[in-house]
C-alpha cells in the first residue's frame, strides 16, 4: 500500500505541475504593448506559451458567414465563352444572328446561314471542349444551337469561385490589420470569418462583401442620354449611374451615363492601387497595371482619343474622364468625390482583387468590447461565489471528508483551466457557465462515495473496509451517470457552433477531470490518511 501511495502521489503531483505550467502564461504579467505574456527565455523555447483563448463573446469581435453566389461565377464563365465564340466565328467569317445566355445558364447560338453548321460544330468540338451540345434545332432558315457546360467543368468553376473568394477576403482582412483573424470554408459554398476586436463592424462588413469588379467601358457618344432615359438604351449600350452622396445634406445625387456594354478592360490587370493627393489636396486612387494590362490600356486609349472612358466599379460609374492622349506606361487614376477613408477602402479592395462572385451575408454575430468585458467580469464573479458556497457546504456537511472533496474540487477547476489552455480551446460565456455547472455536478461524484462510506460505517465496518466498500460500490454508478452526461455534451459539440461548442468543451473536460479527481485523487488522500496517519475513524 505504501509504494502504491507514493506512486499515485507522484502522478497527482506531476499532473498538478503540468497544469500549472499550462496555466502560467494566462496569469503571467503582460507586456504593456503587445499584451503578450512576459515569459522567461528558457520557457519560450520548451514550455507551452498559449494563454487561454477567449471567445468572441468575451473578447468582442465579429463572426460572419458568407455564402458565395457560385451561380454568378458560372454565368460569367459562360459569358466569356460567348465572347470567344463570337470572336472565333467572326475570324472564319461565319455570321451569327444571335449569341446569348438563356435562363438555364446555357449558351444559345443562332446561325444566320445553316450551311455553316458542320463548320461550327467542328470549331466547337476542337476549341470549346467544355461546352456540350444540348440541342440543335432548325427553324426555317436558321439553326439554333443550345450549349451546356460540362458538369465537371461546372463543378470546377464553383469550387474555384469559393476558394478564390476565400483568398480575396483573406487578403482584404490582412490589409485591414485585424489580429488573429480566422477565415475558413464551410460546406460547399460558405465562408466563415471570425474577426476579434474589430472597431467598426459595419465598415468591415461593407469592405468584405464588395464584389469590387472594376470595368473600363466607353461612353456611347453616338446616342443621347436623354433619349435613352426616355425610350431605353439602344442595343449594345446600357444606362449606368454615378451616385454621389453629399454627407452634409444626406442626399444622393444620381447622374446617368450611357455606356457601350462591351467591357474594354477589367481590373484583373491591376498590380497596385494607392491613395495619392492631387494639386487641390483631394485624394484619388492611382492604379498600376501589369505589362499585359499596360499594353491593353495603351491600345484602348490610343484608339479612342478625345472620347470618354468610364471607370465602373460594381456597376457604379466612378468617373468618365476624356482620354486626352494615348496612355502608355501602365498607369491610371480614379478620381471622384472621395474622402481619405473612401479612397483607402477602394485601394484595399482593388489591391486584393475582385471577388469572382458576389457574397451574401447569411449570419452575423457581433459583440462589442464593452459587453465582452462585462461578461467576463460577471462570469468570474459567479464562479467565485458559486465555488465558495459549495466549498463551505461540503465542509459543514461532510466534515473532514468534505475537506477532501473541496481539495478535489479546487484541483478540478485547475485541471479544467489548464486543459482549456493546453487544447487551445475557446472559452465562451456559455463555457464559463459550463465550468460553474461542473462545479455543482462534480460534487455529485464525491457525494455518492461519501454516502456509501456512511452506509458502510453504519453497517459497522472498519474505516478501511468502509472506504474500500464505499469507493467500489460507487464507481460504476459514477461512471454510468457521468458517461451519459458526456454523451449529451459530445452531441452538443457536434451540432453546436461557437459559444455552444465552448460550453460543450468545458462540460466534457469538467466531467472527465471530475472523474479523475473524485476517484483517483480523493482515493489517494483517503488511503494516505488510513495508512500513514492510521485514521481510526472516518470523519464523514
Amino acid at each position: 500500500m505504501n509504494r502504491s501511495i507514493k506512486w499515485r502521489a507522484l502522478v497527482v503531483l506531476a499532473v498538478i505541475v503540468v497544469a500549472l505550467v499550462y496555466l502560467y502564461p494566462t496569469v503571467a504579467p503582460r507586456d504593456k504593448e503587445t499584451n503578450e505574456p512576459k515569459l522567461p527565455k528558457f520557457w519560450q523555447k520548451v514550455l507551452p506559451t498559449e494563454m487561454i483563448n477567449l471567445g468572441l463573446d468575451l473578447k468582442g469581435g465579429m463572426h460572419v458567414v458568407f455564402e458565395v453566389q457560385v451561380e454568378e461565377a458560372v454565368d460569367a464563365a459562360m459569358d466569356r465563352n460567348i465572347e470567344e465564340i463570337r470572336f472565333t466565328l467572326r475570324k472564319d467569317r461565319i455570321p451569327l444572328a444571335e449569341a446569348t445566355r438563356n435562363e438555364a445558364g446555357q449558351i444559345v447560338l443562332v446561325l444566320a446561314k445553316p450551311e455553316h453548321l458542320d463548320q461550327v460544330n467542328k470549331i466547337l468540338n476542337s476549341d470549346f471542349r467544355f461546352l456540350k451540345t444540348v440541342s440543335t434545332k432548325t427553324e426555317g432558315d436558321q439553326v439554333r444551337i443550345t450549349l451546356g457546360l460540362d458538369p465537371k467543368e461546372d463543378e470546377r468553376i464553383r469550387e474555384w469561385a469559393v476558394s478564390q473568394s476565400l483568398e480575396t477576403i483573406r487578403s482584404r482582412v490582412d490589409q485591414l490589420g485585424v489580429s488573429e483573424p480566422d477565415i475558413r470554408p464551410q460546406g460547399k459554398d460558405r465562408i466563415i470569418l471570425q474577426l476579434p476586436g474589430v472597431e467598426d463592424p459595419n465598415k468591415v462588413k461593407n469592405l468584405l462583401s464588395k464584389t469590387a469588379r472594376l470595368e473600363f467601358k466607353l461612353v456611347d457618344e453616338a446616342h443621347s442620354v436623354d433619349s435613352a432615359l426616355r425610350d431605353g438604351a439602344p442595343p449594345g449600350s446600357e444606362l449606368l449611374y454615378q451616385t454621389e452622396y453629399d454627407p452634409q445634406t444626406g442626399r444622393e445625387k444620381k447622374t446617368p451615363f450611357l455606356l457601350r456594354k462591351r467591357v474594354q478592360m477589367t481590373g484583373e490587370y491591376i498590380t497596385d492601387a494607392r491613395v495619392a493627393l492631387d494639386q487641390y489636396n483631394q485624394p484619388y486612387v492611382s492604379l498600376r497595371f501589369d505589362s499585359k494590362g499596360a499594353r491593353l490600356f495603351e491600345r484602348i486609349t490610343g484608339n479612342n482619343v478625345k472620347k470618354r472612358l468610364a471607370i465602373v466599379l460594381d456597376d457604379n460609374v466612378y468617373s468618365a474622364p476624356v482620354i486626352q492622349d494615348r496612355i502608355s506606361g501602365g498607369r491610371a487614376q480614379i478620381e471622384g468625390r472621395f474622402t481619405m477613408e473612401d479612397a483607402r477602402d477602394l485601394a484595399i479592395v482593388l489591391r486584393a482583387g475582385a471577388l469572382p462572385a458576389s457574397v451574401k451575408m447569411l449570419e452575423e454575430r457581433t459583440v462589442g468590447a464593452s459587453l465582452g468585458s462585462d461578461s467576463i467580469r460577471q462570469g468570474v464573479t459567479s464562479i467565485i461565489v458559486g465555488m465558495l458556497l459549495v466549498l463551505t457546504f461540503m465542509l459543514i456537511y461532510y466534515r473532514k471528508s468534505g475537506a477532501i472533496a473541496d481539495l478535489a474540487l479546487v484541483f478540478n477547476v485547475l485541471l479544467i483551466a489548464a486543459a482549456l489552455a493546453a487544447f487551445r480551446a475557446t472559452l465562451t460565456l456559455p463555457g464559463i457557465a459550463g465550468i460553474i455547472l461542473t462545479i455543482g455536478m462534480s460534487v455529485d461524484a464525491n457525494v455518492l462515495i461519501f454516502e456509501r462510506i456512511r452506509e458502510e460505517v453504519r453497517l459497522g465496518k472498519t474505516p478501511r473496509a468502509a472506504v474500500d466498500g464505499g469507493f467500489s460500490k460507487a464507481t460504476w454508478t459514477i461512471l454510468d451517470a457521468n458517461i451519459t452526461t458526456l454523451i449529451a455534451a459530445i452531441v452538443l459539440f457536434q451540432f453546436g457552433t461557437g459559444p455552444i461548442r465552448g460550453f460543450a468543451v468545458t462540460l466534457s473536460v469538467g466531467i472527465v477531470s471530475s472523474l479523475f479527481t473524485a476517484m483517483f485523487v480523493s482515493r489517494l488522500v483517503f488511503d494516505y490518511l488510513l495508512v500513514q496517519k492510521k485514521m481510526k475513524h472516518v470523519s464523514v
Binding site: 454510468d480 454523451i487 459559444p499
Partner: protein
C-alpha cells in the same frame, strides 16, 4: 450532519398517483401554453432576423427608442428593456420579413445616433441570422436532441439489461429511417416528434424498461422546461437548446443513480415486490439526490443572479431542469419499471415476483 436520517421510509411508490396528476397538469399547461403562443418563441437563431443590443448613456424608455427609429419603416420591430432599469439597455428585434437585413444595423445605429447623439449610443451586440441559417439551426437542434436520446438508449439498455445488440440494432434502424425521411423532405419537426414516439413504442414492445423509463422522464423534463418558457414567453435561442441538452444529461444522471440502486436492491432482496424494492431504493438515494440537486441548484442560482442578463435565461432553463429532473427520476422513471412487475430489471433468473398488480401506465 445529515439531512435525511437513515431508515427514512417515505412511500413514494404509493403516492405516485398524485404525482401522475401533477405531471399531467404540468404537461397540459405546457401544451396549452405552446398552443396559445402559436408554437415556441423562436429567437433570431431559429426564426431568422436581427437582434441588436443597445445601451444608452442616458435614461430613456422603449417608447423613445421606437420613436427615434420611426423613419426606418420597421413597424414590426420589438423593443424591450434588457437588464436593470439604470443600465438603459434595450433589445431591438426585427423579424425576418425578407427585407434587406444586411444594412439594417447601420441604419438603426445612424437613426439612434441622430436622436441621442453619437457618443450616447453604444451598440453592444448584434446577431443577424438569415432565414436559411435559421432553418438549418432549427433542424440541427432537433436532430441533436434525437441522436442524444438514441445514444442514451443504447447505453442504458446495455448497462442495465445487457441488451447491447438489440438496442444498437434498434437505434441504428431508427436513425437510418429518420435520415432517409429527412432527405426525402419530410417536415423535420414533426418527423422528430413522431420518431420519438416510435422510439418509446419500440422500447415498450422490446421490454427495454430502463431505457423507456429514462427516456420518458427526459421527454417529460424537456417538455415542461419548454412549457415554462412558453408561459413566461421567453425566447428559445441556441443557448437554451444547449441548456436543454444539459438537462437531458443531468436528468439522466439522476435517473441512473436511482435505477442503479433498484438493480442492486432487487438482486439482494429477492423476497420483496418490485414496488417495495423501488421504494426502498429511492429512500436510500434520497440523501444523495437532495444534496446533488441542492449544490447544482445553488451554483445555477449564482449564475442566475450574478451572471449577467445574457446568461440569465440559460440559468433559468437549468434551474427548472434540475428541479423537474430530480422530480422525474423519482416519480416518472421509476414507476415505469412497474409496467413489468415480474421482471425487476435484469436477467438474474429470479423467480417471478408478483408486483402490486397495478398495470396503470404513466400517462
Amino acid at each position: 450532519m445529515e439531512i435525511i436520517k437513515p431508515g427514512t421510509h417515505i412511500d413514494f411508490v404509493g403516492k405516485r398517483k398524485y404525482a401522475y396528476a401533477v405531471s399531467l397538469i404540468l404537461v397540459a399547461i405546457t401544451i396549452l401554453a405552446l398552443f396559445i403562443r402559436g408554437g415556441p418563441n423562436y429567437g433570431v437563431d431559429f426564426a431568422g432576423g436581427v437582434l441588436i443590443e443597445v445601451q444608452f448613456h442616458q435614461d430613456t424608455t422603449a417608447q423613445d427608442v421606437r420613436s427615434a427609429m420611426a423613419d426606418l419603416n420597421m413597424a414590426g420591430a420589438s423593443i424591450q428593456r434588457f437588464g436593470a432599469v439604470g443600465h438603459n439597455e434595450f433589445l431591438i428585434r426585427v423579424q425576418d420579413t425578407g427585407q434587406e437585413l444586411e444594412g439594417l444595423t447601420n441604419k438603426v445605429h445612424q437613426a439612434l445616433a441622430q436622436k441621442y447623439g453619437q457618443d450616447q449610443v453604444d451598440i453592444r451586440r448584434v446577431e443577424m441570422v438569415g432565414p436559411k441559417v435559421g432553418e438549418d439551426l432549427r433542424q440541427k437542434a432537433l436532430f441533436a436532441v434525437f441522436y442524444a436520446i438514441l445514444f442514451i438508449l443504447i447505453y442504458i439498455s446495455g448497462r442495465f439489461e445487457m441488451k447491447w445488440m438489440m438496442s444498437l440494432a434498434v437505434s441504428a434502424a431508427l436513425m437510418a429511417t429518420v435520415i432517409l425521411l429527412s432527405h426525402i423532405g419530410a417536415g423535420i419537426t414533426w418527423l422528430i416528434l413522431i420518431a420519438l414516439l416510435v422510439t418509446l413504442a419500440v422500447c415498450f414492445i422490446l421490454k427495454l424498461q430502463n431505457a423507456l423509463g429514462a427516456i420518458v422522464a427526459l421527454i417529460h423534463d424537456v417538455s415542461i422546461t419548454m412549457g415554462i418558457f412558453a408561459v413566461l414567453d421567453k425566447e428559445i435561442t441556441l443557448s437554451i437548446v444547449a441548456a436543454l441538452l444539459t438537462i437531458v444529461g443531468y436528468s439522466l444522471n439522476d435517473t441512473i443513480i436511482v435505477f442503479d440502486r433498484i438493480r442492486e436492491n432487487s438482486r439482494k432482496q429477492r423476497k420483496m415486490s418490485l414496488a417495495e424494492v423501488i421504494n426502498q431504493s429511492i429512500n436510500e438515494t434520497l440523501s444523495r439526490t437532495i444534496l446533488t440537486s441542492g449544490t447544482t441548484l445553488v451554483v445555477v442560482l449564482c449564475l442566475f443572479f450574478l451572471g449577467g442578463p445574457v446568461i440569465r435565461d440559460f440559468a433559468l432553463a437549468l434551474i427548472v431542469g434540475v428541479l423537474v429532473g430530480t422530480y422525474s427520476s423519482v416519480y416518472v422513471a421509476s414507476p415505469i419499471l412497474l409496467l413489468w412487475p415480474d421482471q425487476a430489471g435484469q436477467k438474474s433468473g429470479a423467480p417471478s415476483l408478483k408486483g402490486s398488480g397495478n398495470k396503470k401506465a404513466k400517462a
